[in-house]
């Protein structure tokens, strides 16, 4: 099941202008593939480049959409997720306006509502960023 644009509102609580995932291609228990096309009016674009906070937020929201996919399948509302820790996040290139990010998220561990994930962001064959992140999911 592919989620696009507003469909993703069912998976994550973020909304424009802070909405940084526009497609969820697939998700399983252990990984997910997401994407984002960089629009010119994206708040994290500067001089035609999608800058650091945009890349990191895209990873965080991809991880949130991955978690939200699980809650959606169980018929629950998406939970608020917060970044608890970022580790070894290397930003090789800044994507350009019009580029399509393709992102792979892998779940490394999940303990007491804390999810540890690894992320890899590409534009076609170009590696944009790799990152490890701890996300806290808040129970209502």
């Amino acid at each position: 099941m592919i989620f696009r644009n507003n469909d993703i509102y069912q998976l994550i609580p973020q909304r424009p202008p802070m909405f940084m995932v526009d497609v969820v291609w697939a998700a399983t228990e252990s990984d997910a593939d997401t994407g984002l096309t960089i629009q010119e009016n994206n708040i994290f674009v500067e001089n035609g480049l999608f800058r650091e906070p945009g890349i990191i937020e895209h990873i965080a929201q991809s991880a949130a959409a991955f978690a939200g996919y699980g809650t959606f399948v169980r018929g629950e509302q998406p939970k608020l997720g917060y970044i608890g820790e970022i580790k070894d996040c290397v930003m090789h290139e800044f994507p350009h306006v019009g580029d399509e990010l393709r992102t792979r998220i892998e779940l490394v561990a999940e303990v007491n509502g804390i999810r540890l994930i690894n992320a890899e962001v590409h534009v076609q064959d170009i590696l944009i960023a790799t990152c490890q992140m701890k996300i806290f999911l808040k129970d209502d």
Binding site: R15, M18, F44, E52, E57, E85, I86, K87, V90, M91
Partner: protein, 122 residues
Amino acid sequence: MIDNYYTVLNCTTTDHRSGVVNVRLNADCSIYDGHFPGNPVSPGVCNINMIRECAEQISQCKLRIKRIKQCRLTTLITPLTHSQLDVNIDLSEQSDGSLKLNASIGNEGENYLSLKAELTDE
């Protein structure tokens, strides 16, 4: 980059390598329309970007983040509960020409976010 996210109230540096920037978060920034609707929470990534911009102000150089070695976000920051913040910047030059950054965001002795990163000149 993000319009109206914060206002610099004061910036103190003696050597353009370390210093403190006192800022006020603006609750009417449009980012809070979406993060989250009816529940404004300052995005961690915007605070990391604010650190980068404060490092630019201190060093008088345009900087990009090459690598975040570690960033710990220990306190939920909102513009309502944490309107004034100190951004502490400490830069040191590496042998490869990059800058090592140790930074934190806090207020009145409390630490909300700490960042270790490598920056390069743009």
